[in-house]
């Protein structure tokens, strides 16, 4: 090898190294995508001493290249130039996945008029590749005729390779931030706290590109102590599926809160969705749990069957099959199913992403779900395991949702705390009714004790004017037939004012054996006592 060639090789190596450093600069990694592309173009143009440089990124759904960043030909981006894959200079690079050089633009097929208007004479372009897939094109141009060397080709491809990785990473984080924000906005940020009801839920976006899907869960209180539980799955992925999911979640809630029973809710959902056929097929299951009667009414619109874990730990799936997904046909009727849910029972609702592995029958996934449920005690641990993809051993790419509910025993000594607002009264009553019912109080006793306790709670709410979020406690105990309930607030006792007030205390006295009002500086405690099995009211 002659010294001259050596020298040239040395200079080339140095140039390559400098170029590498320029485009792999770690500082670039922290830039948002638009700024990253701009910074890369500056550096590439300077390394290759070109007059123009541009990134076009692939719009996959339309199979077009879109100008995203440009130097020297900024109009490209401003005008939103789009080049079909396979057409023109950039389009051919994307289609052929190889570099193309044009030494004399005047005689070549150029689709983009801006390139000719600017007086560009020579062009060199390379594809942006990630794992063999084209994600865009990078090209440079000169205002004077130029013959691009192999070195120029290699350098530009090197820059393109680094840029492709950086773009992909920036897109990934951008998308993930978007997905996380969307998810936070779409799913309930907390589950209702109901004594005697244990709830756990998880949502996990799709493993592919962390793209959000159309899965959802929801839990809400209905009147009369009932609890609405929903799991659903809008077909498809991405923002469109998520937006439709948000719409359907709200619609279902609204129908349910309007008092429609499960089958009618499903029929209304179907009527809402059917005109949008065929792209919007949605499955869901809607269950209404009545903790007092320990029963559930349910409807399933083509959804994965709910798993029941009986109090003895054995598992079975609820037979809700038969009704189709919503949005398939206008003329669909839905059937309501009723079943008992004794204290100690759990129900687990999942979407297919939690159980289904491609190429395997769904029953296999369901068997694994049941086996996992027998191993993991408690809905919280079970939901965590399912949320981590344990049923599919990570072999599902789909997004997944899980909602699990456990009807827990209310202990003989019950301690509960409630927000000091009138809406808490209904929920408190239903919990107390269930607690009394489990202690063999008869219907009148349940009514009387519940009413007396509620009157004390209404007092507590009225008096709760201590600073900070106000709350009151209801502690109940049952011993040898004697029920004692203490209602405690942190406000000052005030005598009832107004002509039609002040019936609370006489009512309590009429309904209970004893009513003790203890007033201190810290608050007021009302202690109510009544023996079950001995009537006191006329």
């Amino acid at each position: 090898m002659s010294p001259v060639t050596e020298g040239t090789a040395g200079a080339r190596a140095e140039r390559t190294l400098e170029a590498l450093q320029q485009v792999t600069d770690v500082a670039l990694a922290y830039l948002p995508l638009e700024e990253l592309l701009g910074a890369l173009l500056e550096r590439i143009a300077s390394i290759l001493t070109s007059d123009t440089a541009a990134f076009l990124l692939l719009d996959e759904s339309r199979q077009e290249l879109v100008a995203r960043a440009a130097k020297g030909i900024e109009e490209e981006v401003e005008r939103g130039v789009r080049i079909p894959v396979g057409k023109g200079f950039a389009g051919r690079i994307a289609a052929e996945r190889g570099s193309i050089a044009i030494e004399d633009v005047d005689h070549a097929e150029i689709l983009n008029p801006i390139l000719s208007i600017k007086g560009i004479r020579s062009l060199l372009g390379v594809p942006l590749l990630v794992e063999g897939q084209v994600i865009g094109v990078l090209h440079v141009g000169t205002l004077t005729p130029r013959i691009f060397t192999d070195d120029d080709h290699n350098l530009l491809q090197l820059a393109a390779d680094r840029a492709a990785l950086a773009i992909e990473r920036a897109r990934f984080y951008e998308q993930r931030r978007g997905v996380e924000a969307l998810q936070r906005a779409l799913l309930p940020d907390h589950l209702p706290a109901i004594p005697g009801i244990e709830l756990a839920a998880r949502y996990r976006p799709s493993a592919v590109g962390h793209s959000i899907g159309g899965d959802w869960y929801d839990v809400f209180r209905l009147g009369g102590g009932l609890i609405g539980l929903v799991i659903g799955d809008v077909m498809g992925h991405g923002v469109a599926a998520a937006a439709l999911m948000a719409e359907l979640r709200t619609a279902l809630r609204a129908y349910a809160l309007d008092g429609h029973p499960p089958a009618e809710v499903a029929e209304r959902m179907n009527r809402l969705l059917a005109p949008r056929r065929p792209t919007t097929m949605t499955t869901f299951a809607y269950l209404v749990l009545d903790p007092e009667t320990e029963s559930v009414s349910a409807v399933s619109a083509g959804h994965v069957p709910p798993l029941v874990i009986d109090p003895d730990g054995s598992t079975r799936f609820l037979e809700l099959a038969g009704d189709p997904p919503v949005g398939v046909s206008n003329a669909t009727t839905y059937h309501e199913h009723h079943f008992a849910m004794p204290t100690g029972t759990s129900v687990v609702l999942v979407t297919d992403g939690a159980v289904e592995v491609r190429g395997e029958p769904l029953d296999r996934g369901l068997e694994r779900l049941a086996a996992l449920a027998r191993r993991e005690p408690g809905v919280e641990r079970l939901a965590t395991a399912i949320g981590h993809g344990e049923v599919t051993s990570g072999r599902s790419n789909d997004d997944l949702a899980v909602l699990a509910v456990h009807l827990a025993e209310l202990p003989d000594r019950l301690r509960t705390s409630w927000p000091a607002e009138p809406e808490a009264l209904g929920a408190m009553r239903h919990m107390l009714r269930r607690w009394l019912g489990r202690r063999d109080a008869d219907a009148d006793e349940v009514y009387d004790i519940t009413l007396a306790v509620q009157e004390a709670c209404a007092n507590a709410i009225e008096h709760a004017y201590a600073p900070g979020p106000a709350a009151f406690d209801v502690d109940a105990s049952h011993e040898d037939g004697l029920v004692t309930v203490a209602i405690r607030d942190r406000g000052r006792w005030r005598a009832a004012r107004g002509r039609h007030r002040g019936r609370g205390l006489p009512l309590m006295e009429a309904l209970m054996e004893s009513v003790d009002v203890q007033r201190t500086d810290e608050g007021t405690t009302i202690v109510l006592r009544r023996t079950i099995g001995r009537p006191v009211a006329p």
Partner: protein
């Protein structure tokens, strides 16, 4: 009104009838009062409140009915309650004296016949 109670307003001839279904408590008593006020007219002799479908009635609801009985009396009108037999609601009306503050009837037809 909230999800635990529903008030259906009807007119039978000139007589306004409010059928209260579900649970009446401090969370919805004000909304129910507004609904009852909206039903009152000067043309009728009575306002009928049908509590047959009421499953729960606390002192906020009792107070509300006492106040209505008084308000109607001042207008030379009568509040008539429909209380079905031996229900907890009828028992509460007895304990609080509500059944002595205004006429009560076992059925809606009976209340309308008296109006």
């Amino acid at each position: 009104m909230n999800s635990i109670v529903r008030v259906h307003g009807e007119r039978h001839g000139d007589t306004p009838v409010a059928r209260v279904e579900g649970e009446v408590d401090a969370s919805n008593a004000d909304a129910i009062a507004a609904k009852l006020h909206a039903l009152m007219t000067n043309r009728s002799m009575a306002l009928v409140v049908d509590l047959t479908g009421t499953t729960y009635l606390d002192s906020a609801g009792i107070n509300l009915l006492f106040a209505f009985a008084e308000e109607l009396r001042a207008r030379q009108q009568t509040l008539r309650l429909v209380l079905a037999g031996a229900t907890p609601i009828a028992r509460m009306a007895g304990i609080t004296g509500l059944d002595r503050a205004c006429p009560t009837h076992a059925t809606l037809d009976e209340a309308l016949a008296a109006s």
